[in-house]
């Protein structure tokens, strides 16, 4: 595959598409704490992998109708954020469970007003995976989505993050299915998000440690609704 740029990236935070208000993603880091276990018999450092951590920092424009209303309150609770590199089905996407640390304005000499918005991961490492929707997908009726090919089955568990940006109807349930042959599908164990009755909202679900995910994965919607717009990012856990 050819090299790609970051053009066309997207960022959703707690079910809100902030992409047009974000000018720069300064940092999206996954790190591992090195534990030094060097023995006296070693001539070089010996290390073990400790806790994983994550950092997200982006710069937003001042938009009093969107980014400012969502970011200025500095919520004390967790926030789910997904950054996608592209909007095609299967494009890479990183999801984080974060806590926002600041909302710091910078008023430049040129009159510009931008905000630095740092986050730290909370409890889980940032999860790099793939979009199971083509950017934001809009269903107007219960729909079986298109499949994303993972190349092979995995047995390391999984996690998925959902952002619902718009909803009209009574209730929609968004769930995951997997398949070995892209023909016969079954519900992924634990792969059903809680029913959504309003937007914006976001959720994260995860499979059991070591859970099997077959080669193909897709998103299906069920329920009573006339329109739902949503994004699902899915990651197969790395082997650790």
């Amino acid at each position: 595959m050819a090299k790609r740029t970051g053009i066309g990236a997207k960022l959703w935070a707690a079910g809100v598409d902030l992409s047009t208000d974000v000018g720069e993603i300064e940092e999206l880091a996954v790190s591992v704490e090195p534990l030094d276990v060097t023995s006296i018999s070693s001539s070089g450092h010996e290390r073990l992998a400790g806790l994983v951590d994550g950092t997200l920092r982006f710069r937003s424009f001042f938009d009093p109708t969107l980014a400012h209303t969502k970011l200025s309150s500095l919520p004390t609770g967790q926030r789910l954020v997904t950054v996608a590199i592209g909007t095609a089905l299967g494009d890479p996407a990183a999801s984080l469970v974060t806590r926002q640390l600041d909302y710091a304005p910078e008023r430049g000499e040129d009159g510009s007003l931008v905000f630095s918005v740092p986050h730290l991961a909370d409890g889980t490492a940032p999860e790099w995976g793939r979009l199971l929707t083509a950017g934001a997908r809009t269903d107007t009726a219960p729909t079986n989505g298109s499949a994303v090919d993972g190349g092979a089955a995995t047995t390391t568990g999984w996690a998925a993050t959902l952002h619902v940006t718009a909803f009209t109807g009574t209730s929609v349930t968004i769930s995951l299915q997997d398949s070995a042959d892209i023909t016969s599908w079954a519900a992924l164990t634990g792969g059903s998000f809680s029913a959504v009755t309003a937007a914006p909202t976001s959720q994260r679900i995860a499979g059991a440690a070591g859970a099997t995910v077959r080669r193909y994965v897709r998103v299906v919607t069920t329920g009573t609704f006339t329109s739902v717009t949503f994004v699902v990012a899915f990651s197969r856990n790395p082997s650790r």
Partner: protein
Amino acid sequence: MDLSAVLTAVANHATAAGAAVTPPIRDVRIGGLVPTSQRCIRVAYGGEAPQSRLGATESLGSAIVAERVVVTAWIAAPAGGDANWQAIELELRALKHELRTRLLGDATLGGLITDLEIAAVETEWVTIGESAVYRRLELAVDCDYEEYAIAP
């Protein structure tokens, strides 16, 4: 951005600026760069300009550009001696002062745009045809911003 309304708003300021200089410039129109009188001001769409007031020229999924409106003043070369030539230089400066003051004093053009920026004003000598010589002043007004979605 409503370009028609913005052009009209800028032209209104140009009209007021032209009336405030001595001698006044009363021929002010939208469109048409070629002067049709000895002293005139024309207001025209100047294309795009780099957006400079938002802190970036792109968001994650869109390109952001400013829209430019150009105000051009034409003053025909005078008959007579050096004193008339020198007077034109002072008139140009006075006109520039009136234009910049009025536009920056109405930086949202009555709510039509979010902001505007005026680049350095330039003057030059222009010869049209074989003998028509004009002193020209050009003031570029970068207005607002337009976003164009980028889809790879």
